[in-house]
Symmetry: C2
Subunit: 348 residues, 2 copies
């Protein structure tokens, strides 16, 4: 079968790889229908995260179960399923607490020895803990499939950010970052009852999606200028709940800067760079909390799925470019050059 591999920075290939097979009784093999490219995939693409030549890539996918190990009980051949961006056993202390990202047997797609989502098929460890069944009829609805695919990462991650930020009905929310996760955080904040949602972003195509997702205000600025603008919109106080969906020192500094005293920053931007942007003295004086991290999206799927299925929320507009498997390298290029927001990959 064919799958995307990374050989060096900017060297993405779609090539023949071994067909996945069930190796353990808890495995399943999923034939991928839809996958996509994540902003975090770009770190490997740009060489900021090391990869071994030939490593698989892609951690967001949905598809049809093709084979199951003898211990798998919750899904069967022919089921339409979505996979979260990490696998998890579903039974350890952390999984039972809902923190599937800390699963004692968990792991990331595309790590050495495991399959990635940007390919024709994937061996899924701990299928019972990992996969979530979707209605089979969704397979014939392109828009719905795209929307459901966001359950694998960006929608759940946006939801995690909104929860971390403490979004409550009536809250004023600010979202730092206009990538797919930031936009999904807008959607999640709206869903959780935020009254006012201020989206910070300088790309109008993206902030237009933010407005469509529920943003009431857009601040097209960064740093001190953004902080001043958000304060002006909030009687000088800032937002109760702030999402940090970038991961740079500056974005964290901005996020803390726009947070109202007593509020919280929900951070889901993977931290990179040498500094943290966290001024503990400011957080102390103003009682600003910091809460977030890698999102246990597996735990959020049961809550979010019904709203996606019935159209209460439609995250599918985060995909603004579609390629087939052969087009994956072009998709990376488009996202790297910020021509595309998020690239959908359709198989067959």
């Amino acid at each position: 079968m064919r799958a995307t591999t990374i050989h060096a920075p900017f060297d993405m290939r779609v090539e023949e790889v071994p067909e996945p097979v069930v190796q353990f009784p808890t495995d399943a093999v999923v034939r991928v229908l839809r996958s996509c490219i994540c902003g975090s995939d770009l770190w490997a693409y740009r060489g900021e995260a090391a990869r071994q030549p030939g490593q698989r890539i892609g951690h967001e996918f949905l598809g049809v179960v093709e084979e199951t190990g003898s211990d798998v009980t919750t899904v069967q051949r022919g089921d339409l399923v979505v996979a979260p961006f990490m696998w998890s056993d579903g039974v350890c202390d952390y999984c039972r607490d809902g923190l599937t990202t800390s699963c004692e047997h968990g792991g990331f797609w595309g790590t050495v020895g495991s399959d990635g989502g940007q390919g024709e098929a994937v061996r899924v460890p701990f299928a019972d803990g990992t996969l979530v069944q979707l209605p089979r009829e969704a397979a014939s609805d392109d828009r719905l499939l795209s929307a459901l695919l966001t359950l694998s990462d960006v929608l759940g991650t946006g939801h995690h950010a909104a929860l971390g930020a403490g979004v409550r009905p009536g809250a004023t929310v600010a979202v730092v970052g206009d990538g797919a996760v930031g936009l999904c955080a807008v959607l999640a904040a709206k869903r959780l009852g935020a009254e006012r949602i201020i989206a910070l972003g300088r790309h109008q195509v993206r902030t237009d999606i933010a407005r469509r997702f529920g943003a009431t205000d857009v601040v097209a600025a960064r740093g001190d200028e953004a902080v001043a603008a958000v304060r002006e919109l909030t009687r000088g106080q800032g937002a109760h709940a702030v999402v940090e969906a970038v991961g740079t020192e500056q974005s964290m500094r901005t996020a803390i800067g726009v947070t109202r005293d007593g509020g919280a920053v929900g951070f889901v931007g993977v931290p990179h760079g040498s500094g943290t942007g966290v001024d503990l003295g400011v957080m102390f004086d103003r009682n600003i909390a910091l809460r977030g991290g890698v999102a246990p999206v597996r735990s959020y799927i049961p809550e979010l799925l019904p709203d996606v299925l019935d159209g209460t929320i439609d995250p599918s507009p985060v995909f603004d470019m579609t390629v087939d498997l052969n087009g994956v390298p072009d998709g990376y290029k488009a996202m790297d050059e910020r021509v595309a927001l998020k690239v959908l990959v359709t198989n067959g």
Copy 2:
């Protein structure tokens, strides 16, 4: 009247200062019965926090109302009252939210132009927002007065730390720091239903108080050794809720190190030093939250007061040395040299 003043590092004096009088209709004058010395006063004492020569000091006191301005309605002459370590107007947005430390008109005792608690009397701005009435009969009960005095800072700060750490019934809690605040955090965690409380501290006199306050385990170690010990006590996982009550880079690092994935650090140690001890990558990977800051103790007094009055909790053992006003300089010396944990000052 006489009050404590600071003239230079290690130069504390008890000297004649002007009698306080009502200057604004919202003021009250309180004749101090009990005050105390705080660990944070030592920064001024040691010259780590700048003070102008002759500045007043002390931010924890209780006493009797002597005079009230014409707008004061909630307390009257003769009332026994306790003051939190900041004054607050009680009516601004933040005060109504319970975040009295962010009050638009709030301030700290002992700042230039305001009185400090370690003296015979204090002018209290915004008396209605600031002071809390206590039963008059408490004035004749020495132990109870000491216990009530902790409502001005350390008990409420420990409670804030426990809330920030997310202490819930059944939780496993770790407390980094065996000062008065750390000990009060043990007491607060116990009060909030913690099942297991691990106190980290290397001074047996203090950890003995921790045990008396509800600690089930003591770890007499620091840094990596402390982290390993707490993990060994918690099946390798760490504590759900961790209190950071020191404020150094190392203590924050330890606090994060002993926190279970998905848990929270409640931080109330005033951050000092150049580094933060906050490794955002670790917090991200393990979903560790950081929540705390300067404690809005004014808001906690109504909740904590009944438990102190009826003896459900007795924080008075944090005082292990008592001086009169003349003895305040000796009290500073004893705390600086760690001979005393916390010094009570009795007037008259």
